[in-house]
Structure formats: C-alpha cells, structure tokens
C-alpha cells in the first residue's frame, strides 16, 4: 500500500492552513468548524491549489510547488466522499455509482447492499442509503486513498451507530490510506487510532486517541476530547503534589506538576457523585447544584456546578438525581491532568 504524503501551506480567509501528514492507515482530523479540516481534503483532492507544498501518493506526485507540478482533480486517484454526499440528483443510484466509468457498478451496488435501490433517484433515499451510494461511487473509481468529509454528521443519532460500525468494518477491509474529517471526537475515537487535532489551520496534537485523553497537549485538546477543564492558580506543595485554587474558590489537588495559571483536566468517568459529603480517598470535592441530567445510552451525564460526571443509569436512579438538587462531585488527585493556560 502506497502511503499518502501531504505537506503544504494554504492561505485561508482568516489564517494559513499549514500541516504535514504521512498517512498509512486511517487517521482522523478533528477540530471545531472553520479549523480548515475540509480544506485539507480539498487540497489533497486538487480542488484548491496550495501555493507551497508537496502532496503525493507513494511515488505518484500530485503537487510539488518547487517543480511546478499540480495535477488536476481528475488525475489524482482520490475517493472523496463529500459531507452531504453530493450525489448527482439527475442520475439514478446505478448511474451515480457507474459515473466514473470503470465498469463494475453492479459489483459495488451489491457490496454496499444497495442493488434494490439501483433505479431510484438520490432524493428518494435515506441518509444512511445516500452515504452507502456515495461510498460505492467513490470506491468504484478505484482510488488510492479515501477522503471522508464528516461522514456521519448528516445522519440522525439512530442511524449513526449502525453506519459507524459499517464504516469501521469497511475501512479496515480496504486498507487504503484514509483521512476522515470530523468535528466529533467520539466518532473519531470509534473509527481510527491516530487523531490529529486541527485548530486555526495548525495541528495542535497528532497522537492516538488514548494518548490524547491521557496527555492532552493543551486546554483545547483536553476539552475537545470531552474532559472537564477547571481554571485556577497552581502552587507546589511540600509533598510534591500541586494545589490549584479554582476561580470558583474550591481547592483542587493534583499529583501532576504545574505552576501559575493552569487548567485542571478531569474526565467525566473519573468523577463520582454523592448526595452527602463523606470522607474517602478522593481528595477533591466540588459542591454544586445539579444543572442537567442527560442519559447517553446506559450512562447518565450529570452536570454539577462547573463539572460533568458520568455515572451508570442505575446509580443515577439510586441517588435520585434531579435538576436543582445539591450534590457533591469527587475525584482523585491521580485522576487529574494539569495543562498550562495562556
């Protein structure tokens, strides 16, 4: 398998997109909207031309600004799946899949289980079906790399789970260099190992999903991975731990080192909830009003004051958590990370 190499700079409206990627398996680019994620895919596909850089699939050079090489989009073997799929509305499903003219359309219709929709128009399809048509169309072209732009964002929560599982299976089967763009860290974590966090055109961190959770490079990456971020002033203690006085007044202890203005990173699954204040090994305690209780699958996300905790549905029931009540959130000093704040 030829690796995808992309190293370029591209001026966008309010910042310059600049990144270097070497993709062999599947990587995800995550980040807030407007971070330049889609522009990365556009540049690789040849829909925009970066003034500086080099893009290549193995020995096949698509862009080399120093040698004035810039191949047109139809001369790059990319399988780009657009955010809203961009299916041709005037063509049937079969005509869409056969569009690239490589034959084998029926084979791909079968593979994606859309043969029964062959004569339907895209407008008559559900979101999940459209995505399968878009994937089939992109793969029928015989691409050397797959680019997926927010493949799950156009789907409702119900279909999302199924499609995510299908996509995961497909990607491991294809074994092509793949870049997946998403604003949802959870989708990225479910689909890939390597994740790049893109903010304002720069890669803040490129690591495995577990590394991002364990060692977030900065406050943004931490909050993006779903962690709580509590701001405060850190000071060293004699026993080599750190005390952080939060802006809200509480004192938090951490086994990590930090000084000055810091963010305390705590993951919701590290936080326990109680209705009564009692002593245990968890040093850190935040008392607050229950602001929201949201069920996510078999777990419940509870917002207490400035912090979000994740508990099982049964313990949420046992504790009779309801909005407006007072509860205590506790977490261990070892369950915290400290990141410097600018």
């Amino acid at each position: 398998m030829a690796a995808l190499h992309a190293d370029f700079a591209l001026p966008l409206r309010s910042f310059e997109l600049e990144l270097a990627l070497e993709v062999e398996g599947t990587v995800a680019l995550v980040g807030p909207s407007g971070a330049g994620k889609t522009s990365v895919l556009r540049a690789i596909a040849g829909l925009v031309r970066p003034p500086r850089g080099r893009i290549a699939l193995g020995d096949d050079v698509w862009l080399d600004s120093r040698r004035a090489v810039c191949r047109k989009p139809d001369e790059r073997r990319v399988g780009l799946v657009f955010q809203e799929y961009a299916l041709f509305p005037h063509l049937t499903v079969r005509q869409n899949v056969a569009y690239s003219g490589h034959g084998r359309a029926d084979e791909f219709l079968e593979r994606f289980r859309i043969s029964h929709l062959a004569d339907a128009r895209p407008t008559a399809l559900s979101g999940g079906e459209r995505q399968r048509v878009a994937l089939a169309r992109a793969l029928a072209r015989g691409p050397g790399t797959i680019l997926l732009d927010e493949p799950l964002s156009a789907l409702d929560a119900h279909t999302k789970g199924t499609v995510r599982a299908e996509l995961q299976e497909l990607l491991s089967e294809l074994a092509l260099p793949t870049i997946l763009v998403t604003h949802d860290f959870e989708d990225a974590a479910a689909l890939v190992d390597q994740v790049g966090v893109l903010v304002d055109g720069r890669l803040r961190q490129f690591a495995t999903t577990s590394e991002l959770v364990d060692r977030p490079a900065d406050a943004f990456v931490a909050s993006f991975t779903g962690a709580n971020l509590l701001r405060g002033q850190a000071r060293r203690l004699d026993d080599d731990t750190t005390a952080v006085e939060l802006t809200t007044g509480e004192l938090i202890y951490s086994t990590e080192r930090g000084e000055g203005s810091v963010g305390v990173v705590v993951y919701p699954w590290e936080v326990s909830i109680g209705r009564l204040q009692h002593e245990d090994s968890a040093m850190n305690l935040i008392r607050g009003e229950i602001r929201s209780v949201v069920a996510v699958g078999n777990r419940v996300r509870v917002r207490i004051g400035p912090i979000t905790a994740e508990v099982t549905a049964s313990s949420a029931e046992k504790l009779e958590l309801g909005r407006g009540g007072i509860a205590f959130a506790t977490f261990k000093a070892t369950g915290t990370r400290l990141v410097p704040l600018a």
Partner: protein, 280 residues
C-alpha cells in the same frame, strides 16, 4: 351591517374591479384581433405571398440568430457563472445592456459599428462583406437584441448548479468538458430552455433595430413584424392575419415555457464548502 363590515365589502369590490379592468385591458387587444376578422378569412390571408415571404425571412433569421446565441451565449454564461475575476460584474452588466437599450438606439449602434462607414464596416468592406440591409443584418440585429435574455437566464441557471457536484465529478476522474455535458448541462437545462424561449420570442418580435439596420425589403429583410408595418395602410386584413399568427406562436412559446419550468430536476443534494478551483 357595521361600518367596518361595509368598509371591508367596499375594499373587496375595489380589488375585484381593479383586477377586472386590468385583465380586460390586457386581454382585449389580443382578443380583438381574432374577433375583427373571421377565422376563415384569417387563414385565407396567410397564403398571401407577403405573409409567406415574411414568415420565411422571420424563421430563417430567428433560427440562425438563436443558433448563434446558443453557441456563443452558453459558454459566455458558464464562464460568468463559474469564475470570479475582477471586472466580472462589469461584464455581466455589459451583456445585459442591450436589454434596456431602446431598439432604435440598438439599430443606430449596429449601423455605427457594422455600417459601410462604421467602426468595423470598412474592414468588413475589404473582404467584400456589406452587412447592412441584408438578411445577415436581420440575424445580427435579432441576435443583438435577444441574446441578453438568454445569457442572463443561463447565468442564473448555471449558478444554481451545486459546485460540489462539479467537484465530485472531477474527483471521480471526469475532465472539465465531460463534466459540463454530464452534470452542469443536464442540471441547468430547465433554466436554459426558459431563457432560450424568451430570447426566441423577443427575436421573433424584433422591429426597431431591424428596420434601422436591415431595412424592410420584401423577401430579403422583411420579417413578420416589419410586414405588419408595411401592410398597415395597404391591406389591414393581412396585418391582422400576421398578428394572429404571431400571437399563436408567442402563446405556444409561453405555454411550453410554463411546462418546462414545471419539471426541473435541478435540486441540489449538498450545500457544503467545496467549490472547484478555476483551472485555466
């Protein structure tokens, strides 16, 4: 009845009267042409050589002019719709200008440009081409006056095609020309047909620019509208017959236009930030 109820009834009556007057005013002249002479006599007059000659001149020049408009107008419209370049809006305005120009001014302009002593007239003269007062002049006048209607509509139709679909086609390995014919043209078709129908109707009725630039010579440059004018004091029945003929053609165009706009397959299926870089 309360005062308020009476006021409301009065208002309703006013609406009714105003729309009645407007409708009657617009329909009456058209209707009058058919009422004035019996249908038998109308059909009789259509075989008058003045009418058949004018019809042939009209059809020949209009069809030729429409061919030119489609041939040059379509790429122009696509360029203006798909590229962003400095001076683009000026170009669009210039293309639309003949639309608001008084026809007589258009005729004078054509004479000043292509006339024997015009800007390009002497150059054309070198090649033995004398444009004014020929059938080619009629075609030129019709094309000049009618093309903005098509180009304007075509720009709008091309702009309505989702740029993502064009980008998708390119990433599927299809070049720009084939993308145009396989994606852009089918999706813009409804709008292009509508624009062409308007341009056709405008070209068929062209009078002012034609009479200034091409004159009104029977069998050569006398189109149907010019024949109406020429026959006005000679044979009023003939003018009525030609008018009736033009009304029928225009009505047929209008109806087919309405039918064409009803079926429009161009509903975009995506709205994101992909666009196609202009490859020159």
């Amino acid at each position: 009845m309360s005062g308020r109820g009476a006021r409301r009834a009065l208002l309703g009556l006013a609406y009714f009267l105003a729309s009645g007057v407007a409708l009657a005013f617009l329909v009456l002249p058209v209707l009058a042409i058919f009422v004035h002479v019996s249908p038998g006599k109308l059909i009789d007059q259509l075989s008058n050589p003045v009418v058949t000659d004018a019809l042939i001149v009209s059809l020949k020049t209009t069809v030729l002019a429409q061919a030119l408009i489609l041939l040059f107008g379509t790429p122009t419209a696509y360029l203006l719709a798909s590229r962003r370049f400095p001076g683009r809006s000026l170009c669009v305005t210039l293309v639309e200008l003949p639309l608001v120009l008084p026809p007589a001014v258009a005729g004078i302009g054509l004479l000043a440009a292509f006339g024997r002593f015009g800007l390009l007239g002497s150059t054309l003269g070198w090649f033995g081409i004398g444009l004014p007062f020929t059938q080619a002049a009629v075609t030129v006048a019709v094309a000049f006056v009618a093309s903005p209607l098509y180009v304007r509509q075509a720009i709008a139709a091309f702009e309505a095609v989702d740029p993502n679909l064009v980008a998708a086609s390119r990433t599927l390995g299809v070049g720009p020309a084939r993308t145009f014919f396989r994606v852009v043209l089918p999706l813009a078709r409804g709008g292009l047909i509508a624009g062409e129908a308007l341009a056709f109707a405008r070209g068929l009725g062209e009078f002012g620019a034609t009479i200034m630039f091409a004159g009104s010579l029977e069998k050569v440059t006398q189109t149907l509208p010019l024949a109406i004018y020429a026959q006005f004091e000679v044979n009023f029945d003939v003018t009525l017959a030609i008018s009736a003929l033009l009304i029928l053609i225009s009505a047929a165009l209008l109806i087919s236009l309405k039918l064409a706009s009803q079926w429009q397959p161009s509903t975009p299926t995506s709205h994101s930030r992909f666009g196609l870089l202009s490859w020159s």
